[in-house]
């Protein structure tokens, strides 16, 4: 709403300036001189005013493009110095417009002017002049002439606006105001435009999400540079080139701003897609206009094409501005409505300036476009700034939500890891339970069942039952041993087994020798299942030796061949052939246990008896 009020104020002000009282100086005493006599004196700077007979009457304003279209050089304008001048303290001449440049003479004496009056002229076409007439030049006894010498060239609205003469203090406010709008205010718009442009370009360049604004940034830069036209009086480059660059700049601005309007609409208005040909067409227009103007050898030739190119430019601009208005209708947000209002204002004054530009009879209008552009540019920049701030805020929000998200994820991850570990432990426990239960069932359970059967049998003997129960005890011990967490290396397992079984050998008059190689070191620990298999296997072998070999000495030994650990059970008994021996000896069972251990098992007949050797792998097999 504030923006809207702003625009209304700007429009009202401009309309007041445009449509209000055309009498420029309202204070008194001041006289507006419109009726003059003039003479063209060619392209060389005149030493004095011409004779009265060469003059012909001219009514001001005199716009050369209309009154002398191809003329390049100097024109004298003469008016009679009014009698009132004698009563003024500081008689002063005010030239609102003397284009390209002008100076004031009284009779044959030059009073003053600005810049350079010889070709190439300085660019003072937009500089109002306030020139005080020295009192010494005013004579009471004669009619005096007030001369204005104007230098100009075709195609640039050269000429002279109505001249004012009056008391200095009466003219001063009008001059001051015009000077402000035409010079200082203009410079201010250039600075503001450049600032906005740099801001927009920096953001648009760094973040391509705001790509449309890059077009606007360039347009604003071109616009600011182009407006130097009204401010620079002594360009460092040739005058014609400077002028044509300024005109071309207008074309570039039109093209860039049109493209911006299209891209901007595409970004803000869902579903809207601008015509594909527009971008190349607009840029093509700018290139053609630049080429044409820079190629022109003089102002006149350049001016010949101005009308057409300016009309195309106005067309493109109107299209772009109407696009912005339609965007605001489609999406009536505050920002976009502000942009549309800026666009309408701009359009209004653009058309006004265009009308001024092609008017070949008027002089002295103030061009308003550079001012009208400010609200539009500011509104556009505000949309970008808002977007940028929102993006920043989103980034901040995102960062903080990401952080909390990460923390949550980490917590969840840790939790699921903990669950996984717990599940793994549970699985390990479950496997262990299954193994122990299976083992109790197959081992101890089977022996107990046998014992029960034997005790119920009519033909049972105590000796047989005792043996079976002893087996039960052995089974149970082996099961308990295999679960010990510290005692699962072959040396500990077999040392304990030997310790338990030795008395049984002794009770039968046999000997169980136990040999441990010196280089054994600390053999690797087995897992519970492997430990059980090893104990069962060796126990089976020792039992076989005890029951069937008929040996007097059985030797259990543990050694370390280059690879792995070797367990050997040697006896000096009768021996047997493992290929033909009965199943009761558990050979098959031993082989399968060895396979589960990943060990190599083999039986060999020796001169004395039998040797069973079992070679365990270096790295124990786990199940």
């Amino acid at each position: 709403m504030a923006l809207l009020a702003c625009f209304v104020a700007v429009i009202s002000f401009i309309l007041w300036v445009r449509l209000g009282d055309h009498r420029e100086v309202t204070a008194a005493p001041a006289i507006e001189l419109r009726e003059t006599a003039s003479a063209e004196v060619g392209r060389s700077y005149p030493a004095s005013p011409p004779h009265a007979e060469t003059l012909r009457p001219v009514r001001l304003p005199d716009n050369w493009d209309g009154s002398r279209p191809d003329y390049s050089g100097y024109v004298w304008y003469r008016a009679e110095l009014p009698n009132a001048v004698h009563g003024w303290q500081r008689p002063t001449v005010y030239l609102p417009v003397a284009a390209m440049n002008g100076e004031v003479w009284i009779d044959t004496a030059r009073v003053g002017g600005a810049g350079r009056m010889t070709f190439p002229l300085s660019r003072h076409f937009y500089t109002p002049q306030l020139i005080e007439i020295p009192r010494a030049l005013i004579r009471a006894d004669a009619t005096q002439s007030l001369w204005v010498l104007v230098a100009g060239h075709p195609g640039y609205r050269s000429g002279l606006a109505p001249v004012w003469i009056g008391e200095h203090d009466a003219l001063y406010p009008a001059w001051r105001e015009r000077r402000f709008w035409q010079t200082e205010g203009n410079a201010a718009t250039i600075v503001i435009n450049l600032t906005l442009a740099v801001f927009v370009l920096l953001i648009g360049w760094r973040d391509r999400a705001h790509g449309a604004y890059v077009w606007f940034g360039f347009a604003a830069v071109v616009w600011a540079l182009r407006n130097l036209n009204y401010w620079v009086t002594h360009p460092v480059i040739p005058d014609l080139l400077f002028a044509e660059l300024c005109v071309s700049g207008a074309a570039w601005f039109v093209a860039l701003f049109g493209i911006f309007a299209m891209r901007f609409s595409e970004e803000y208005q869902p579903g809207y897609v601008g015509p594909r040909w527009f971008l190349p067409a607009a840029l093509g227009y700018a290139v053609v206009a630049t080429g044409y103007f820079l190629h022109a050898s003089d102002y006149a030739r350049a001016n010949a094409g101005f009308l057409v190119l300016a009309a195309i430019g106005v067309g493109i601009t109107v299209w772009g501005l109407v696009r912005l208005v339609r965007l605001a209708i489609a999406r009536p947000t505050g920002e976009l409505v502000a942009v549309a209002c800026g666009a309408l204002t701009y359009l209004l004054l653009l058309l006004n300036d265009y009308q001024v530009g092609i008017n070949r009879s008027s002089q002295g209008e103030i061009f308003m476009r550079q001012y009208a552009a400010l609200p539009l540019f500011v509104a556009i920049t505000i949309t970008l700034a808002r977007r940028y701030m929102e993006a920043l805020q989103r980034t901040r929000d995102l960062a903080s939500s990401l952080q909390s998200e990460v923390a949550t994820q980490r917590a969840q991850l840790e939790q699921s890891f903990a669950q996984l570990r717990e599940a793994e432990r549970e699985q390990a426990r479950s496997q262990e339970r299954t193994r122990v239960m299976g083992d109790l069932h197959d081992g101890l359970g089977m022996h107990l069942a046998t014992a029960l059967r034997q005790s119920r049998s009519a033909a049972h003997t105590d000796r047989l039952l005792t043996e079976t129960l002893q087996d039960c005890m052995d089974e149970l011990r082996i099961a308990v041993d295999s679960l010990d967490e510290h005692e699962r290396d072959p040396l500990s397992l077999l040392g304990t087994l030997r310790y338990r079984m030795a008395p049984r050998f002794e009770s039968l008059g046999m000997r169980l020798d136990w040999q441990v190689a010196d280089n054994l070191g600390e053999p690797p620990a087995l897992d519970p299942s492997a430990a059980l298999n090893l104990l069962r296997l060796v126990q089976e072998a020792l039992s076989n030796a005890l029951k069937h070999s008929g040996a007097s000495v059985v030797t259990l030994s543990l050694s370390r061949p280059p690879a792995g650990v070797r367990v050997a059970i040697a006896d000096n008994g009768c021996g047997f052939d493992p290929a033909t021996v009965a199943h009761g000896h558990g050979i098959g069972q031993m082989r399968s246990r060895a396979a589960r251990l990943g060990a190599v098992i083999d039986w060999q007949r020796t001169a004395d008896g039998m040797v069973l050797s079992l070679t365990l792998p270096q790295v124990p097999v786990t199940h």
Binding site: M473, R477, V480, D481, D484, H486, E487, L491, S492, L494, G495, T496, L497, R498, Y499, A502, P503, W514, V516, D518, L520, G521, E522
Partner: protein
């Protein structure tokens, strides 16, 4: 004649042991009971008990209480009854002051012989218990013995004999004996390997038991005093 106090709550086992100990011979059963309170009452009353045989899991408490009470009298033999000679029970009994253990598996039908044997020189020491004792010694700060390589004949000049670690309660020789037993060698084999008599091995084992019991009592005392100091209360000296 030595008198035996039997503390066992399992009736068949108790009856079997009573039967063994009441038959003709030495030592003779003085009293058989099934609870901690009864046993403590017997001991505190100063009734005869030269040898105490006790189970650990009793209905009204732990046999360790009986062991501690019984050990107050010097020269008394205290033994634990165990099914397997399983290390955790046996060890806690040893640390409480027991001089050994008897297995209940019926392999000690000639219990008197075993008791004589125990009286004359130490308990049976299974390889598992020996290994646990070694581990315990190793874990003591500053001890670096390597039991698996320490067991070598003494007359082998090239062999490296593990020195007794400072702070270890056991002497070098005791550690050698323990190491041999831990590998499953019999007392005779250990004696042969070390060039000593079997009886000396038994004596060493006996000393190991005693030292461990004393050591654990000292540790407990030290721990108790440390806590008392922390709380600013008087120590036991």
């Amino acid at each position: 004649m030595d008198q035996v106090l039997l503390v066992e709550d399992d009736v068949p086992t108790r009856e079997w042991l009573v039967a063994l100990l009441t038959s003709a011979g030495e030592p003779q059963l003085a009293h058989a009971c099934g609870t901690v309170q009864e046993a403590l009452a017997w001991l505190r009353a100063g009734r005869p008990a030269d040898v105490v045989l006790t189970d650990l899991g009793l209905p009204d408490g732990s046999g360790l209480e009986v062991i501690r009470e019984a050990c107050r009298t010097p020269g008394r033999e205290v033994l634990v009854l165990s099914i397997f000679g399983d290390e955790s029970n046996v060890l806690s009994a040893i640390y409480a002051g027991a001089g050994g253990y008897l297995l209940k598996d019926g392999s000690v039908d000639s219990i008197r012989e075993h008791l004589h044997c125990l009286r004359s020189g130490g308990s049976p020491l299974s390889p598992r218990i020996a290994r646990t004792l070694i581990r315990r010694t190793r874990q003591a700060p500053g001890t670096e013995t390597s039991p698996t390589t320490a067991f070598r004949p003494r007359d082998d000049a090239t062999s490296a004999v593990a020195p007794s670690a400072p702070g270890s309660p056991l002497s070098e020789r005791e550690l050698d004996v323990l190491t041999g037993i831990s590998k499953g060698f019999s007392y005779v084999e250990v004696a042969t390997a070390l060039g000593i008599t079997t009886n000396t091995v038994r004596t060493h084992v006996r000393k190991i038991y005693d030292k461990l019991a004393v050591n654990s009592r000292l540790e407990a005392l030290y721990e108790y005093n440390r806590r008392m100091d922390e709380q600013g209360r008087p120590r036991i000296c």
